[in-house]
Amino acid sequence: MTPTLAIALTAIFTAISCAVLGAFLVLRKMTMVGDAISHAVLPGIAIAYLLSQSRASLPMFLGAALVGVFATVIIEILSKKWKVQSDASIGMTFTTLFALGVVLITYWSDKVDLDQECVLYGEIAFVPFNTWTLAGQSMGPIALWSSGILLLLVLIYTFAGYKGLLMSSFNEDYAAVLGIGVGAWNLSLMSMVSVATVISFESVGAILVVALLVAPAATAYLISQKLKPMILLAALFGLSGSLLGYMMSARFDTSIAGGIATTLGIQFALILAITQFSRTS
């Protein structure tokens, strides 16, 4: 497998997974919670790196994802029990946890092979060099595998939980009447977002994963507010944005993650302009 193909496939898998999850975040008005999770997993990643001494292992993914869920729970407690406005709860929680993560990484800098820039915007260009072997046979890049598994997980989750996600996204009260646990669906969605964030971390970093979560889903929402077309469109925009962004970055030799986020932003602006124009004319 050529390095180019490995990078492109990793980017596409990650983008589609995030886009599908993002559709639910947009509908639930919880995109900023997704943003908070993407920052909050940092201390989890630092601790997991220190303990497992590896860049990609199952315990690391799970441990870090757990911290993401923990952050969601803190935000819930702050806003529901302690009566802090939800925006302030989010802001307080993620900045404190992110700062803790940076401090931990600095403190263990000789033991943990992570630097601050990588945390912020990842380095998808290094994906082909980080391979793993099974029984002496090279299996290809780790990130490609993990993002592929992520896509599979997200698809299974969406198909299996479609009804619960649909109901709890559009009308919480109605869902509660039908006996669908809104809280449980929230928590499961946030766990999926945490896992997606942790897996995407090395390739695109903490903040650009937010662009992958939000931008395709927001673009899709401009066209259709129905769940099924929205998910399909979001996946499509995620795919086109990551492909075009990658091609642009390869052409101009710039940050791939930055290029993808920029392309996603341009896509949104284009669709926004078209929908605005067609509405007024």
Partner: protein, 421 residues
């Protein structure tokens, strides 16, 4: 430790933290504090473009670049919110992440072309207080003072806009203009703040001091002062810690100390803190349980026409209450000589009888008030009276008695028991 560099950094961080805290307080109260977070991230492309097009190390270019990017981001969010069906959180996170991504793209371009010292740019991601130059210090001292002056100047306008924008518009305030002024101040505060903590953690400087201050006071002016104090204390603490420990970054430590202040204020603050609220709820529950128990014993006496005692088992049956909770309540009542324990059970003392009578009286008075004055049906009033009997103060009681003309019986024809004196 007290070398000139340390003093310089300390002075810088103190100014930056307190001025951003004051500006952040308004958006905190408006429930829009994450817009500040988005503006902070969105400054990155502006700052890098200023670096590419102009002299990146000159604070003037830097500020202009930041100002333009911040305003575009702010009005971009407002445009998306108004013209599409997307909700505000999506607008904020969309602008935040795509602008930041564009900034990263530009930064990688600058790094690749090897244009100048990109180290100067990287400090905006997580801040680098130690890199503050004398020039920066002069400029940012000026900016911080400008910010405080701006807040002082627009104080009334900001206050009205924060608490009631419609009212502000109705009395003819130029809301658009005030909004613009506020956005400019926010962008300037962020521009100043990212020197120390960077774009990622900037939200903490805007939000956390206010969240901490809000749990100690309800007055706006005192809240602004407290927020500035918390921010200064955190700047002080963070700068000390990062100076004392090797290779520790200043910005994240300031944010951690701030987080500590924020969370402990939310837990510990008197009245609004979580512990105080819990204690209040527990004491209310306690009072309700005591009064219900005294009421029960009084009711038994009333039916029997003479002092009677009830066993704990009989009380549990009548109250449907946990046995443990009951024994605790009984123990407390015994300690205050409201109830005595006799061989045949628990009975009221004179003091307890008077207290039980008061609760029954309030219950019946309120039932009468609901039927007489509010015209409610007699079979709907009991639950309301169950709550109000624990709430009505002696002053209100006197007013109700007067309003109803010293009534003798309640709607169910039970006598209203006044104190026999």
């Amino acid at each position: 430790m007290f070398d000139p560099v340390f003093i310089k950094v300390l002075f810088g961080t103190l100014l930056l933290a307190s001025s951003s805290a004051v500006v952040g307080a308004f958006s905190f109260l408006k429930g829009e504090s994450l817009v500040g977070d988005a503006i902070a991230h969105a400054l990155l492309p502006g700052v890098v473009l200023a670096f590419i097009l102009g002299d990146g190390r000159h604070p003037g270019y830097f500020i202009i670049g930041a100002l333009i990017a911040g305003l575009i981001a702010h009005y971009g969010i407002a445009f998306i919110e108004q013209r599409t069906k997307l909700k505000s959180d999506t607008a904020v996170s969309l602008v935040l992440s795509t602008f930041f991504g564009f900034g990263i793209l530009l930064m990688s371009y600058v790094q690749r072309t090897g244009q100048g010292q990109q180290a100067g740019l990287e400090r905006f991601l997580l801040g680098k207080a130690a890199a503050i130059t004398m020039m920066d210090l002069y400029v940012f001292t000026g900016l911080a003072l400008l910010l405080l002056l701006g807040v002082a100047l627009f104080y009334k306008g900001f206050q009205l806009m924060t608490f009631n924008e419609d009212f502000a518009a109705a009395i003819g305030l130029p809301t658009g203009g005030i909004r613009f002024a506020f956005t400019v101040l926010t962008v300037l505060a962020v521009t100043v703040g990212i020197q120390t903590v960077g774009v990622v953690l900037m939200a903490a400087l805007l939000i956390t001091p206010s969240a901490a201050a809000r749990s100690w006071t309800s007055s706006l002016s005192r809240m602004l002062l407290l927020a500035a104090l918390f921010a200064s204390a955190a700047a002080l603490g963070g700068t000390f810690i990062s100076a004392a420990l090797p290779k520790m970054p200043t910005g994240p430590w300031i944010v951690l100390v701030l987080g500590f202040f924020g969370f402990s204020s939310l837990i510990l603050a008197p009245e609004k803190g979580w512990l105080a609220r819990r204690r209040r709820a527990a004491s209310n529950r306690n009072k309700t349980q005591r009064e219900n128990l005294l009421k029960l014993l009084y009711g038994a006496e009333e039916r029997a026409g003479e002092p009677v005692a009830m066993t704990a088992g009989a009380i549990v049956d009548a109250r449907e209450q946990h046995y443990e909770g009951l024994t605790k309540t009984l123990r407390n009542l015994k300690k205050e000589f409201l109830v005595v324990e006799r061989p045949d059970g628990f009975a009221l003392t004179d003091l307890g009888r008077s207290e039980g009578r008061r609760v029954v009286r309030l219950h019946r008075l309120w039932e009468l008030y609901l039927t007489e004055r509010l015209g409610m049906a007699a079979d709907h009033i009991h639950p309301q009276a169950e709550t109000m009997e624990h709430v009505i103060t002696p002053e209100i009681e006197a007013l109700i008695v007067k309003e109803l003309g010293n009534p003798e019986v309640d709607p169910h024809q039970s006598p209203i028991p006044y104190e026999e004196d």
